[in-house]
Symmetry: C3
Subunit: 248 residues, 3 copies
């Protein structure tokens, strides 16, 4: 929020939909980091009341051919560029409906080549919030971008191999191993980097302060953490670091 | 706000208390830094309208035995883990009332072991905001955690010795010496690190740009600052650095 | 927002104007950076609905003789210290009206020497939002601070020489060369630092990922960028770096 971009979008939202209630969700997704945006939405969108309109502007392709879209997934509405940032929300809903934003009332009079957040996405969200019908935003499409999250693989020796996909502010290294992929099997230990085998626990405080552990985090993914410490810094874990899970 | 944790809490708040007005106060308290959280609340809570509900989730003990609590202090309501983060608000109010959160309607259906902000604290705040009676949240307790702020000491030679307890974003080094501890005595000079004796002033602009000074900050604590500069960086002051105050 | 300053202001706003709708615009303007604040306001204020009240507290002179002011520019109201931070909004409006804040109801009972955001600016904004007449805030003045933005100069050989004035979060280096200063001439190339001549484009994605370009950004200023990269870091561009524009 050092820059005026978010403020300009809020101004447009209030101008085009007086009385709208706006919540800041994140302005710190890494520049051009579509995967991070997708993980963010997957872990936050489902908690909002039906009909909430979410605006996402991670938009490396602004001003090029990439399409601006609206999506209805479950009971939530998403407004964003067609680049896959909605991808991790889609597996829960086969009935998602997507439209390309094209109605003239869904854009400002002069659309810049570099800031569609202000000129297209905020106006569209404002119109929808003010009651403009989803069906009139533009043509329905089915070939919008999905997102391939790297899947964990099962090795011949029975070890499940995943990777770190996100490091949170506390230094917890979140992996691509979803709780569901464990299939209810009992995890014996988790290996990452040159770490000794880590115990699987339910929460941070079950090991001593400064000790490392593995656990299933609040969004359902296996993560590596240090109780009251920073696992990613301590063990040099970054997105892409491999993680191995052994079962009992 | 890089992570989806705050967004998920906002979703829960809006879902369980439609129409709630939410303000972001801080999402940058240091991980597990209970003292910083306590100082933050002490300097902000008293300015809010009666009945405001404050949610605080600095929660190193999440999922362990530490209790989730609600507190009524003066005319404000606080929802947080029982770890002392309310401590610096309590000296103003002997009538504070504390309850352990236990009513089933004050939690989400499935409570995770690692994110009570989303699963207990936000739901409780939403219920209270929607009119749920404070008395029904859970059992009243009296043995909740207080916080021991290190107190300044008076040396035999009459010098008051305190410590830096917080460095703000401007680099001002805030100490544990409250205005009240000066007892109205006239400060002659303030010493810290290898600094020359600093003059006591009322505001930054009373010394030249780049010059150091001591003053009583807006929350009532003595601080060391540099006019239009960063005192903490310049003089390597960090929480724990000793500060000596000489009286006239 | 690590510090309690913003939270205290929000508390005062809600206390003095119940029901006020507050939006966070930025809490990351560099300490004492009046030019950055002015650029921020110039690129965001015009997008808000008529009658919006903007509060800005970049205030190195707090507690000294600098005056607290309110300004009506076009249909927006600004509340801030008289230090030039409104400067870049003024060229669009000769009818701007400025008043010094002096009415007793526009301040808290005890005004500190170091935090007029909480004690004067937030109270004034709250009063105005609650219907207090602009004309009664205080005496009208005309000698409030303007701001001299360094202007680009035209060299004898026809090259326009500007400077970088801001680096945004994406690493784009924004210059003081406004679209208007190009006078519709066709830019042949842009030079900065030891960079080869950069092509002028309309948007980032018109060059390959990792390639540098020049373009007119969404606020109308020429900027130097790298598609999906960080131009300022890559080329060591900082405020003050010279930029040369050659015309066809």
């Amino acid at each position: 929020m050092r820059d005026p971009y978010v403020a300009a979008m809020k101004g447009v939202l209030h101008t085009m939909c007086p009385g709208a209630q706006i919540e800041d969700l994140s302005h710190e997704i890494g520049p051009q980091d579509i995967l991070e945006a997708a993980l963010f939405w997957a872990a936050s969108v489902p908690y909002f009341p039906p009909g909430t309109i979410h605006v996402g502007v991670v938009d490396p392709g602004v001003g090029t051919g990439r399409r601006p879209i609206v999506l209805q997934v479950d009971d939530q509405v998403l407004v964003c560029p067609d680049n896959g940032m909605v991808g991790l929300l889609l597996h829960c809903d086969d009935t998602a409906e997507c439209r390309v934003i094209s109605h003239p009332s869904c854009r400002r009079e002069n659309v810049s080549a570099t800031f569609h957040g202000r000129d297209i996405f905020a106006p569209t969200a404002a119109r929808l919030a003010a009651g403009f019908p989803f069906e009139e935003v533009g043509e329905a499409i089915d070939d919008y971008e999905r997102l391939e999250l790297p899947a964990p693989t099962l090795r011949e020796d029975g070890v499940l191999v995943g990777t770190v996909i996100h490091v949170d502010r506390f230094g917890n290294a979140v992996t691509n191993v979803h709780n569901g992929a464990l299939n209810g099997r009992v995890v014996q230990s988790v290996h990452a980097a040159e770490l000794p085998a880590l115990p699987m626990r339910h929460t941070y405080g079950e090991v001593d302060a400064g000790e490392a552990l593995a656990l299933v985090g609040s969004a359902g993914y296996l993560e590596i953490a240090v109780n009251q410490g920073n696992a990613a810094e301590t063990f040099n874990l970054t997105p892409g670091s491999p993680v191995e899970i052994s079962f009992a």
